[in-house]
């Protein structure tokens, strides 16, 4: 709707400029053959009906008008529907965690007030006007045909009627000339010559067509004037054609005929092409004064007119950049140092591209020569920078600059003007990290020195450990917080996971209590428990932010989605979306897997994205990324019966499965030859399952562990982070 109004107004505006140009050019041209001026009106017609045109180095229409920027400023944009931005990439079926956002998801609250849709109002007004005009034309045409139904056929296509006042031409396919009975015999041949000229020049089709296009632009007074002038030009051209090669006497009697036929002013109409429609005085004057110029003058003028026509019909060559077929005007391209939020789709795409490159397929290289068109992404801690070189030899490529060591890898993105979006992306990530991570840290930090119970309730302890009760003991050393957990962990692994969580949150609590509480301890129903005394520091806001972020990261939130899109640990991340609900299976009899430390997921973070699975090992930042191969539920086969996962997964209503597969980086198309690797992700009705198979002592694909994940409340995946960021920006900035 908005697009339609914008396009229509742009066309109208362009046509207006063209019409004004033609009106100006007409004045000198009126001395010459009038069919040339008629030719010029063709440009206006073209502009009225055709929204697109070719580009030329020179054009008479200013760029601001053809690009519609003028119009954009006038038309108020429609409010965007709220659902537009929240949809993540949906590969069906969505894992239940993604499709059922947590109740407190901020995205739900970002619905704008439904405002009046201006473009709808404009459209309705326009169609009323346009329809009214067309209706009027249809009605008058009908009345005309009624009147002329009883006209008497004289000869060829000439009809005599007593119901018409002036001679005219009517009819599209077989045009008829209607003559009033009151017409003087002497005038008839002149009239016929004139009307036949109309027919020869196809005016009987052109004029209704012009009228129709005028209907589309009924709101534009300049175009109404243009129509009137076009009619005049048509009449004058026919006058000239009718008196071509005629003697002075003949021309004089033609002029007399013009006078005899009564001229009644009537509103501009599509039909008929009446002989006496235009003011005869002007026509007669013009006719009598007209001296046919020399052939070569006509030729040159004609060529000039054709040239003008093209100039008016062409759009100026624009230097707009196109990003995926959407034009970006100059003003939208970033300047150095600027940053604006990046649209979601571009984020995903870029992330995917950069992650793909950052697989370790870097090769050492010399310091790169950075040509124009290089985008540099700085690591927040300034130890690593990435240069995205889009132009130059061997481009596009990514160069990692780590403290003077340079490594280069080819980038698999198409070279277009994505430089700006790469810059935006990096800024966006910084903002995201700052806004989301810091936002939470600051929210908690605000509680420092406050009521201890408030602090405790602000921490999501029950999400990790289940319901609990707490007590605050005071002794000579200070306060101690004791948590009595009500849920007994199912097994040791789970217990240890919970212990890890509570250690972290305990430390957060201690930091917020600002030294008043010296230890946090917790006990399970079976009597066992653990404690933490935190770090002996007093935290300011910066320090607390760091504590909050770091711990979140190389934390054995295990199968939480701490994602690191850079390969080190302290940077951009988005918030966990999943946590372990239960450990269904652990191959504990294989040695080396008894301790939580050795359990691979416990020491690492796992990123689950519909397109890839990523592992970040330990705290030294190495990582591996595996593309996920999606198996739709129709193709999905339950693991074979020998597979212990089969039993565990049976009956859970698996909707989709992903198996990771490692790409062959040496091949031209790394994705073409995938080696299945050990991870499987099953999306079921009650949660997401992560399985890991390893080849153990020659046995293929032995299930090492199977975990059921569940969505953590207040957690978001990347797409919800975008919404969250927007909301924060709206609220706080």
């Amino acid at each position: 709707m908005e697009q339609f109004c914008t396009t229509l107004l742009t066309m109208s505006l362009t046509a207006t400029v063209a019409a004004l140009a033609v009106m100006a050019l007409r004045l000198p041209l009126k001395k010459g053959p009038r069919y040339l001026t008629c030719l010029l009106w063709l440009a206006v017609f073209f502009r009225m009906v055709c929204p697109v045109t070719f580009e030329a180095p020179v054009s008479l229409i200013p760029q601001a008008i053809t690009e519609g920027t003028l119009v954009q400023q006038v038309i108020l944009p429609d409010p965007t529907p709220p659902t537009q931005t929240a949809a993540p990439i949906q590969t069906e079926p969505t894992p239940p965690a993604e499709s059922a956002p947590a109740p407190t998801l901020p995205a739900d609250s970002i619905q704008p007030e439904p405002a009046v849709s201006w473009s709808l109002v404009l459209f309705i007004l326009w169609s009323l006007g346009c329809g009214g005009m067309i209706l009027w034309a249809a009605v008058s045409y009908r009345r005309l045909t009624r009147r002329t139904a009883e006209a008497i056929h004289q000869d060829l296509n000439i009809y005599l009627s007593d119901a018409v006042e002036t001679p005219f031409v009517c009819g599209l396919k077989h045009p008829r000339i209607y003559l009033p009975v009151t017409l003087d015999q002497a005038d008839i041949p002149h009239v016929l010559r004139h009307e036949r000229a109309h027919i020869d020049r196809l005016d009987h089709i052109a004029k209704p067509l012009a009228w129709l296009t005028l209907c589309l632009h009924w709101f534009n007074p300049v175009l109404w004037l243009a129509y009137r002038l076009l009619c005049r030009d048509m009449e004058a051209a026919c006058d000239q054609a009718a008196t071509k090669d005629a003697s002075r006497a003949d021309t004089a009697s033609y002029a007399a005929a013009l006078l005899h036929v009564s001229w009644r002013p009537s509103p501009p109409a599509a039909v008929p092409l009446a002989f006496g429609e235009e003011n005869p005085k002007h026509r007669i004057e013009a006719l009598l004064r007209y001296k046919r110029p020399a052939f070569w003058v006509v030729l040159l003028t004609g060529l000039a007119c054709v040239g003008l026509l093209l100039l008016l019909a062409a759009d100026p060559e624009s230097d707009t950049v196109y990003l995926e077929w959407n034009p970006i005007s100059q003003s939208e391209i970033l300047q150095d140092g600027e940053s604006i939020p990046l649209p979601q789709e571009q984020t995903e795409e870029l992330v995917r591209l950069l992650k793909w490159t950052d697989r370790g397929s870097y090769t050492p290289c010399e310091p790169p020569v950075l040509p124009d068109g290089t985008v540099t992404l700085f690591h927040p801690d300034a130890s690593i920078s990435y240069h995205v070189i889009l132009e130059g030899p061997e481009s596009p490529r990514l160069v990692k600059d780590q403290g003077g060591t340079f490594r280069s890898a080819p980038l698999s993105m198409e070279v277009n003007n994505d430089a700006s979006c790469v810059r935006e992306w990096s800024a966006w990530w910084d903002q995201t990290y700052a806004l989301v991570g810091y936002q939470e840290a600051d929210t908690l930090f605000a509680l420092q020195n406050g009521d201890l119970q408030t602090i405790l309730e602000a921490l999501p302890i029950q999400d990790y450990a289940g319901p609990y009760t707490f007590q605050l003991y005071e002794d000579w050393k200070g306060y101690a917080l004791v948590l009595d957990l009500e849920t007994q962990p199912a097994n040791d692994t789970q217990r240890q996971l919970i212990d890890w969580h509570l250690t972290y949150w305990g430390e957060v609590f201690l930091a917020l209590s600002n030294g008043h509480v010296r230890e946090v301890s917790w006990f399970y129903p079976d009597g066992w428990g653990s404690l933490t005394t935190g770090l002996p520091e007093l935290y300011d806001q910066e320090g607390f932010r760091t504590l909050y972020a770091q711990r979140q990261l190389w934390w054995t939130d295990a199968i939480c989605l701490n994602s690191t899109y850079y390969s080190t640990w302290s940077q951009v991340h988005y918030r966990p979306a999943f946590q372990v609900a239960e450990v269904l299976y652990q191959a504990s009899d294989l040695g080396g897997y008894h301790d939580l430390d050795d359990l691979a997921p416990a020491r690492s973070s796992v990123v689950f994205h519909p397109d890839f699975l990523a592992h970040a090992y330990g705290t030294n930042g190495s990582s591996a990324h595996y593309p996920l191969v999606y198996q739709p539920s129709e193709d999905f086969t339950v693991p074979s019966p020998e597979d212990p996962a089969a039993d565990l997964l049976a009956g859970r209503g698996i909707q989709a499965a992903y198996r990771t597969a490692a790409p062959n980086l040496d091949a031209k198309d790394p994705m073409a030859h995938l080696t299945p690797s050990g991870y499987g992700i099953y999306v079921a009705q009650d949660g997401v399952y992560l399985a890991n198979w390893e080849t153990w002592e020659g046995q293929k694909d032995r299930l090492m562990y199977l975990l059921r994940l569940t969505e953590r409340p207040y957690s978001h995946d990347l797409y919800h982070v975008v919404e969250h960021v927007k909301e924060i920006k709206e609220t706080y900035f």
């Binding site: 139904a149 009883e150 006209a151 008497i152 056929h153 009809y159 005599l160 009627s161 007593d162 119901a163 009975v181």
Partner: protein
């Protein structure tokens, strides 16, 4: 009923056809009208109906006959021209032709003869 003799051009022409061809089946009249006047069937029927309403035609059992004589119509037409353009004055009407010099000797002789017969009858 007294026929309404204020006739349009179309009325005149159709009456002409009827006078020439009557009594004529309406279908054939349509064909004739199409040939000489270029009318559609619906147009012809419209005019027939109108003339019937004016009392100039009769259309019974799809056969059309006229109810007025040609001379009657001519008389009415003449009266109308006289009234409209010459204030009802026949001499002025004549004067117009005489002044234009468009009366041939043959016409003049015929007119004189007609005037004499008219005087003798009175």
């Amino acid at each position: 009923m007294k026929p309404n003799l204020s006739l349009t051009l179309a009325d005149h022409r159709l009456l002409e056809l009827v006078w020439q061809a009557e009594p004529v089946p309406s279908a054939q009249l349509c064909k004739l009208a199409e040939a000489s006047l270029g009318w559609k069937r619906t147009t012809t029927y419209t005019v027939i109906k109108r003339l019937c309403d004016k009392g100039c035609l009769k259309n019974e059992a799809a056969v059309v006959t006229s109810l007025v004589e040609r001379s009657t119509v001519q008389q009415a037409d003449g009266q109308e021209v006289l009234q409209r353009s010459f204030g009802g004055s026949l001499p002025s009407f004549m004067a117009a032709f005489l002044k234009a010099g468009t009366v041939s000797d043959q016409d003049a002789a015929e007119i004189e003869k007609m005037l004499e017969e008219y005087r003798n009858q009175r």
